[in-house]
């Protein structure tokens, strides 16, 4: 089994079509992105004992998602090098066992009504599966698509955004048919099989492989290197931390309003947006979040990563400032359009960053460096919702009408994008003293 999982056994044979690799990556991302739809289980999990006082509370259940997202960032950061050196199949296989196994342990926790088992299963072990799965196909895709690295990683990360669209209705149907515990078992088994298919079909290109007809540019652009930077060297460069800020600010601005989109639309347009239509609005934002990942990452191949993030920060700030005006003039359609574009750029930020890292640090350790960068997502996951929720509560406590309680938040989000703009502006090429030399890569044992 270990040989089947080795990087050396995943090298593609002559004639292998590189377009087999994006579906392999999607097999993983379409499963692990289920974490975005986990909230559909929350209410049913508060009624496992018939809604008695012994039942779990929503606040206790909220920790399951938080632990999973924390473990996503932590495992991606800690295990990034292991993923990079062992190859994508070993990482995908392990991710499948962790993510699927996490569901099964959580199902045991549900049947025994032991919350710690749910934390351990879905949160801790499943969260490790999330982190491993998220970064596992990144460098492989970049190596298969040197001509379109943004589009390639955008396709995989689009799957992460789209997974909730599948998981949400599927989970509702499973719960209606098999109950909450039964759905956890079904999802655990189903996701394990689905991810294993990805692990089976993934391949890495042979050393020195180039797409047919592809000629690497004779003169490299200033911000695209053909050298490699070792993962632990990369995290010591200012470029890594500037990209960290770029990602953190872009995600903070989006994630803060992501969880509030339904309430915000209802409170800013009282009487016009009901809970039902708000659910439709949230669904549309998910679609644009998913589509933006592919669209913006592909655009970045044409206009460059730095320019793509400039668009996110400038257009994003303008749209956030515009949102309160849409409420003031009562234009629901303009409100919807603003947020659909904002969420497309939120997703686009995730999908464009692996190619940005590849441009700055080369392909050899891009997966591991990307793993380290995921900590920006974890930080934003705390910062964004805290900012939105606390500012809204404070506004309401000082007598601001609910319809206007989000105005200040929108201006702060625009300010955060301003910080991201400056960080992006400061990014320059990595100094050549950080580049790896061949002896160094041999000593580290990278093929």
């Amino acid at each position: 089994m270990s040989s089947f999982l080795d990087r050396s056994h995943t090298v593609a044979a002559p004639g292998f079509n590189r377009w087999m690799v994006p579906p392999a990556a999607l097999c993983v991302h379409l499963c692990i992105g289920q974490v975005y739809a986990f909230s559909v289980f929350n209410l049913p999990m508060t009624k496992l004992l018939g809604g008695t006082a012994a039942d779990w509370k929503l606040t206790e259940l909220g920790w399951i998602f938080s632990i999973a997202i924390f473990m996503l960032g932590a495992s991606a950061a800690v295990l990034g090098r292991w993923v990079e050196e062992g190859g994508p199949r070993r990482a995908m296989f392990t991710a499948a066992l962790c993510f699927g196994g996490g569901f099964l342990i959580a199902a045991l926790g549900l049947s025994l009504h032991a919350l710690w088992l749910v934390y351990l299963g879905y949160g801790f072990i499943g969260g490790i599966g999330l982190g491993l799965g998220y970064i596992s196909p990144v460098s492989t895709l970049i190596k298969w698509f040197p001509d379109r690295p943004g589009m390639a990683t955008g396709m995989a990360i689009m799957g992460f955004g789209g997974a909730a669209l599948v998981a949400s209705p599927l989970s509702v149907w499973l719960m209606a048919s098999f109950g909450v515990t039964g759905s956890f078992v079904a999802l655990g088994l189903g996701y394990t099989v689905f991810m294993m298919v990805g692990a089976a079909i993934v391949r890495v290109p042979p050393e020195g492989w180039q797409p047919e007809g592809y000629v690497p540019p004779a003169q490299q652009k200033k911000l695209i290197t053909d050298q490699h930077v070792y993962v632990f060297t990369a995290v010591k460069t200012p470029q890594f931390w500037l990209i960290w800020i770029v990602l953190c600010m872009n995600v903070t601005a989006g994630i803060g309003v992501l969880g509030q989109a339904s309430a915000m639309s209802q409170e800013m347009f009282p009487g016009r947006v009901t809970a039902l239509t708000a659910a439709g609005f949230v669904g549309l934002t998910s679609l644009f979040n998913m589509g933006g990942r592919f669209f913006w990452a592909s655009i970045s191949d044409m206009i460059g990563r730095k320019n793509t993030y400039f668009i996110f920060f400038v257009l994003g700030a303008v749209l956030y400032i515009l949102v309160p005006q849409t409420g003031a003039v009562g234009s629901l359609s303009l409100f919807v359009v603003c947020f659909l574009v904002i969420f497309s750029m939120y997703g686009g930020g995730f999908a464009t960053v692996p190619a940005y890292l590849k441009d700055m640090f080369g392909t050899r350790y891009v997966g591991a460096i990307h793993g380290m960068l995921i900590t920006a997502w974890s930080a934003a996951g705390i910062l964004g919702p805290v900012l939105v929720n606390y500012i809204r509560e404070y506004q309401i406590s000082i007598g601001v009408p609910k319809a206007q309680a989000y105005n200040i938040t929108m201006y702060i989000m625009a300010g955060l994008l301003g910080v991201g703009f400056v960080a992006n502006l400061l990014i320059t090429a990595v100094h050549e003293k950080h580049h790896m030399v061949e002896d160094e890569s041999d000593a580290i044992g990278v093929v």
Binding site: F16, M20, P23, C27, L30, A167, G283
Partner: protein, 36 residues
């Protein structure tokens, strides 16, 4: 695997594309209510 056949490509893309398309259709059906 020596070479990739068209059938393999179709199967691989169908395997991920069909569930994703189903999710998109479900979401669009729900989003239509926003404009009714």
């Amino acid at each position: 695997m020596n070479g990739t056949s068209k059938l393999q490509l179709i199967l691989a893309w169908g395997f991920v594309g069909i569930p994703l398309a189903w999710g998109v259709i479900q979401t669009l059906a729900s989003a239509v209510k926003l404009f009714q």
